[in-house]
């Protein structure tokens, strides 16, 4: 099966993460697992990619982090979306619509 290219998806990792954080604060592995589930195993985000995205998003003020004890007693860092993060997410969605629209014009089933 054709694997997804990390180069192509790079610009949208932030969007994917923010998509989940819009609903509720979450932590690294949960997001990673959700991505896998929602993409039906087609996209497995690498740990380093995910953590890099967290630090970038936090630096840009799109998310904040806090430490919380999970049900099993394990301490985890949770990430929460900010208002500017929500706005950024919407912008990225619009950008994707445009990108998709443009790229699709150049995708042909015929050889």
């Amino acid at each position: 099966m054709q694997e997804i290219s990390s180069d192509v998806i790079r610009g949208y990792n932030d969007t994917i993460i923010l998509f989940f954080l819009r609903e509720e604060p979450s932590y690294g592995y949960e997001i990673s697992r959700n991505i896998k589930t929602l993409s039906e195993n087609k996209y497995l985000i690498k740990e380093t990619t995910l953590y890099s995205a967290f630090t970038r998003l936090e630096k840009n003020g799109y998310i904040t982090s806090f430490s919380k004890e999970a049900e099993n007693g394990k301490r985890r860092t949770y990430y929460q979306i900010t208002d500017s993060g929500l706005e950024y997410y919407r912008e990225k969605c619009e950008e994707w619509q445009l990108t998709k629209d443009v790229i699709e014009r150049f995708i042909s089933e015929k050889n």
């Binding site: 592995y29 497995l44 690498k46 740990e47 380093t48 953590y51 890099s52 995205a53 860092t77």
Partner: protein
Amino acid sequence: METIKNYLETMFANLPDTEETRRAKSELLSMMEDKYNELKAQGMAENAIVGTIITEFGNIDELKESLGLGKAPEPVTTVATIENITYENTEKRMLTIDEASDFAMDSALCTFIFGLGVFFCIISPAGPVFFSGFEELFGSNPLTDFISSFGVAFLFLSVAIGVGLILLSGNKKKGWEFLDEGNCGLESETEEFVKREIAENNTSQNFMFALGVGCCICSVIPVTVLGAMKIAVLESAVGPSLLFVLVGIGVFFILNSSRKVSAYQRLLSLNENTAE
């Protein structure tokens, strides 16, 4: 789980121990731990779990970049590439404009001294010829013998000076031997400079060369003209000795005409070799 911890430690081994990297490490470990527990719960074999986690870990360089360490290792790689390039270049030593200009000056001076040496060697017979003319004129007597000994002295002295200068001229070439060893080239600016210099010196080169050839051709004129005048002192002494002097001057000019241009062409040829 120990294998994974060790793997993470190894990945972080080259990173500076800052708060940010420590946080990154603990976050990554937390994620990997979660994944480990889940896969374990699914009944996956230990080896398979470790394999999965490591393949899905990703790339430490990506992490460095996001931790702002990208800048630190990046110049290192840039330096490394620069070093590689200069390494190739030091194999091919690149000459600067100053060096090219110095080389041209040195070679020009060297040619000048060499030319002067040749000049003295060529004119050396003029001495005996000139002074023996007196002997022919006044017959052999102690005075003309004495005078003609000047001629011989002049011959030896002139040859001595000439040879001395020729030997000395080689001295100026010292310090530039590395050009002969190959592995040299010109920087692109230097190449431009050299080409410009060649163009500028072309006219004076042609002029000097023509002057030299002219002198050589004209060297026979005094002999024929003065010979035709039938004045003994001019015919037997001045005329023939002038021949030597004119040839000497001519050869001097011919040798010197290309002193700078040939040096510059020599430099250009270094780059042609480099291009091969």
